[in-house]
Amino acid sequence: MKIAMPVNDKNLESDVCQSFGRAPYFLIYNTDTKDSCYIDNGAVASQGGAGIKASQMIADQGVKALLAPRCGENAEEVLKKSDIMIYKTIAGTAQQNINAFIAGQLVLLIDFHPGFHAHGK
């Protein structure tokens, strides 16, 4: 299956990016074929709704799981409606997180922050 992760650089030794919506790149990794590719995050320069746009891009890639340190409510809605599971990353590189995911060590992300331009719940 395909999984996605926000990263700072285009390689597996890159640190996971601490922001989802404004990460410079997304790693799209196929756990079956072990192929990886990187897409530029078109949402990085967005005024608002960056998480929404980033989620749309991820969903369009046919991804089944997103690994991220945090995620906003609007992005969560797009991801949930796209049947994408969201897991919380651990400190470390992209490769370390991929390994942890495959080993079933990552927990689901349950705390979603309100959108930066939205109004909380």
């Binding site: 709704g49 969903a59 797009v78 409606k81 331009h117």
Partner: protein, 293 residues
């Protein structure tokens, strides 16, 4: 211009310098006037006037609503929206009202006419009377990002009456909500306090009113003995000083109890009457100098 009443905006850049003190009291010493509270995020004027409200209206903005049965998933709307308020996943469109700016673009562009607009309430305006003053207040609901649609309604010619002058109590800062508030003003009163923060922000609104070609003057508030950086600024820039309100414990206490000083005490009445006289003279001078106004 529609109404020929004189519109005087009161602004300051920095919060807490005395915009409401000045606008409320000037409106109160005028014979018959209008007071409009454009600080819709934190409206305070009505606390002083306690007006008898005779008119209320909710303010709405338009939000897109997508008819899923007509949607073909072409994603023209998603691709167009610069605010990222739309998404499309698993054959269903999604609308994010919180980031929508109501530009109407998606409605126009949908080839299947699947998008219509529904109204979302963001606040209200109300009008009332307090003696000689018509009080018009705008209130933004908590959680809403922008009060501009409310300010537009407050300044609509239909809201006001024939009373003049009209005092517009502006929000702090110099961002788009302030610009919206002073857009049609005939004159701007800048309220300054004697602190470096006050002068720093006075400088910002000074730039703003000149950019908009508005005639302006300064009221110095909370004046103490000694060096007054705001006064220094006015002298250096050759800005007309309309009046000086001394720092005064009694005035401060009255203000903190939401009492209108000029209605309580003759001393303050005289102080604000002289400021009003100076303001009206300046306005007169400006309007005769520029017949277009």
């Amino acid at each position: 211009m529609e109404n020929r009443n004189t519109k005087i905006a009161v602004l300051s850049g920095k919060g807490g310098t005395g915009k409401t003190l000045v606008s409320v009291n000037l409106a109160s010493v005028a014979l018959r006037s209008v007071y409009i509270d454009c600080d819709v995020e934190e409206p305070n004027g009505h606390l002083f006037f306690k007006p008898e409200v005779n008119f209320k209206r909710d303010i709405y903005v338009k939000m897109p609503f997508i008819n899923e049965s007509l949607c073909t998933g072409c994603r023209k709307c998603v691709d167009f929206c610069r605010f990222n308020a739309l998404a499309f996943t698993k054959n269903k469109p999604l609308v994010f009202k919180q980031v929508c700016h109501s530009c109407g673009g998606c409605v126009l562009l949908c080839p299947k006419k699947a998008i219509t607009e529904k109204e979302k309430m963001i606040g209200k305006v109300q009008k009332g009377i307090s003696g000689n003053v018509t009080v018009i207040t705008g209130i933004l609901n908590t959680g809403e990002a922008s009060g501009i649609p409310i300010i537009k309604r407050l300044l609509d010619k239909d809201m006001s009456d024939e009373r003049s002058p009209v005092f517009i109590d502006c929000p702090p800062g110099s961002a788009c909500i302030v610009m919206e508030s002073i857009k049609n003003a005939d004159y701007c009163i800048l309220v300054a306090e004697p602190t470096i923060f006050g002068v720093h922000n006075l400088n910002m609104v000074y730039d703003l009113v000149r950019l908009f070609n508005k005639p302006y003057g300064v009221v110095l508030n909370k004046c103490l003995d000694g060096e007054n950086p705001a006064e220094r600024f006015c002298i250096d820039k050759n800005i007309s000083i309309l009046g000086r309100i001394p720092f005064d414990n009694e005035l401060g206490t009255m203000n903190s109890d939401a009492k209108i000083a000029v209605r309580e005490n003759k001393r303050y009445r005289e102080l604000f009457e002289s400021i009003l006289e100076k303001v009206m003279k300046e306005v007169q001078h400006e309007t005769t100098a520029d017949p277009k106004r």
